[in-house]
Symmetry: C2
Subunit: 336 residues, 2 copies
């Protein structure tokens, strides 16, 4: 489908679900961006879920989002159960402002929901010449080291820095795969890779439905589990949001809002060495890229480069929508 047409349809759908024009635009843009980035687990496969949650009154389509200034560096955003995209968009913009003023910004967002890719927000900060951390937790997906029951979300760690060219953006879940990818495989009847998830008996499975009922494998066992726990504290406990497995799964649990938390830390990279920062970043990247390549590698890419290539490759292409998801879109758009 043409992106322009898709955007019109998505906007219509969100408007029908009582979102403001501005919030509809924000949501449509991020959903399309996920598709262009081929992060399809965060794209159109989630549209019906968002609409279902609005209908079930567990997402607030008309949130009164409040930004509270705690200091020149620190702000708190109460998202009033908005769609995560909208809350996180406000949050990162505030974190950018704060760092521009003081050199360092810290913004906690509470009463929010799933916000798509951390990359969306990191990129905005990097384009304003800032370094950035984005943290968010999620519904139970990964068992803490020593337990056989899922509790942590896939809790990504996202870090961005300007390079003078394509932004350096590391956006890695602390699990072997993100949950959206398993959800989408389930929806489309596909398998998931071997070695990323266990069924409920603790056996490795490639069946996405069994994986959803079991647990995902953290990266490097206790290390990944510890990193996921860190993200749970930063985005959940610190911000006053749900944590330790209490974030509701947006697809399955309509008993209340997700009350998810996000944390953004922004840093002016010139704070210690001024303009030399970009000079040194360029040296850093070029030294590493010049290293001898391992077997099977033609080049060494820094985090963010591959996503950027994908983005540019797809930017002027139509978006392929599987028939099952297209049916959902048509259904949602036909609602009076």
């Amino acid at each position: 489908m043409k992106k322009k047409l898709l955007k019109t349809i998505l906007n219509q759908i969100f408007l029908k679900h009582k979102l403001s024009k501005n919030h509809s635009e924000i949501c449509s843009n991020y959903l399309i961006k996920a598709e262009v980035l081929e992060a399809k687990g965060h794209g159109l496969a989630r549209l019906k879920m968002y609409c279902d949650r609005i209908k079930a009154k567990v997402i607030n389509p008309k949130p009164k989002i409040k930004i509270k200034k705690i200091s020149n560096s620190v702000s708190c955003v109460n998202a009033d159960n908005s769609i995560g995209f909208v809350a996180a968009d406000i949050g990162i913009k505030q974190a950018i402002k704060n760092a521009k003023k003081t050199g360092i910004g810290l913004v906690g967002v509470k009463n929010s929901g799933h916000y798509g890719l951390s990359t969306f927000y990191a990129e905005q900060a990097v384009k304003k010449n800032l370094m950035v951390f984005c943290f968010t937790n999620g519904p139970p997906a990964v068992a803490p080291h020593g337990s056989k029951k899922s509790l942590f979300g896939t809790n990504p760690i996202c870090f961005g820095a300007p390079t003078g060219k394509i932004p350096f953006i590391l956006d890695t879940s602390t699990s072997m795969i993100n949950r959206g990818a398993i959800r989408r495989a389930s929806k489309l009847g596909q398998k998931i890779p071997y070695g990323v998830a266990l069924d409920r008996n603790g056996t490795i499975t490639t069946d996405p439905n069994k994986a959803l009922k079991g647990s995902q494998i953290p990266i490097s066992t206790f290390r990944g589990s510890g990193l996921a726990w860190m993200v749970d504290i930063l985005s959940g406990v610190l911000t006053g949001s749900s944590h330790s497995g209490k974030t509701k799964d947006p697809f399955d649990d309509f008993t209340g809002p997700q009350n998810m938390g996000h944390l953004f830390i922004t840093i002016n990279p010139k704070i210690f060495i001024g303009g030399n920062f970009l000079k040194e970043m360029k040296i850093n990247v070029s030294r590493i890229k010049r290293l001898p390549k391992a077997k099977g590698f033609a080049s060494i890419l820094y985090p963010g480069e591959r996503k950027n290539k994908t983005y540019r490759k797809n930017l002027n292409k139509d978006i392929f929508i599987p028939s099952k998801i297209l049916k959902e879109i048509n259904y949602l758009n036909a609602i009076k």
Copy 2:
């Protein structure tokens, strides 16, 4: 050896190597602490190296360390090529002060050296009721994803938070094993675990000497490589220190100072939800500890608990020193 006697000897050795009384105390305490924590790769096995570097004039025993205030939250420490322990100790204390004043502290340390365990510094911040990140880079040990040559250090990620009881301290290298453990195995003629390092041809090896000439394996391939790159940017590029493989190996390369960088970020965890933070942290920890256990696990520990147990177990015990390292100590102590 009795800890009291060991401390007297270590102090004597550092004093003979021209360190001030205060700096000698700091270094002796951290070396002994590493032994008590059974992080022996960061303990006495490094003593001779520190002394050799002082003799070779690539560590400055009488540094004029300067702390520059950039804002109420941000400071820069120029360590004047001091031993890393001393510089990092000053850095974390400044980061604690800054967060106490403003809610968030950011301290960059440059012209420093290997500082032992990040845990040492994280613990200090947590004991002052702060959250903390500690980042430091190191000499080449890990090949970037796509390369066959080591460039990143084992670049640990360290995060601490108060729990009301034992501090939560995640201190994980972004490689499968820390380099000190390989160094120590090499010194003592021991093997290293399977699956943590490659020889120079890219084959897995359990021979520490081959591993030192080859490369260490990052956690979860491209994810660990990305995290190591992040730490290189934060502690190296941002602070104006060595980066992208230019940090000299302290054991092998005496051609100049290490010029290592450290970055400390401190956060008042009450900044968003006040006294509820500790209440929620306790809920967080107890919910996770109550989860059903996986096979072979009697309990679920949070990061830092095991180290704390080790510390308490060893606190009143003598320190076992392998004869090879004891010889080094006796030699250094006999120097006039």
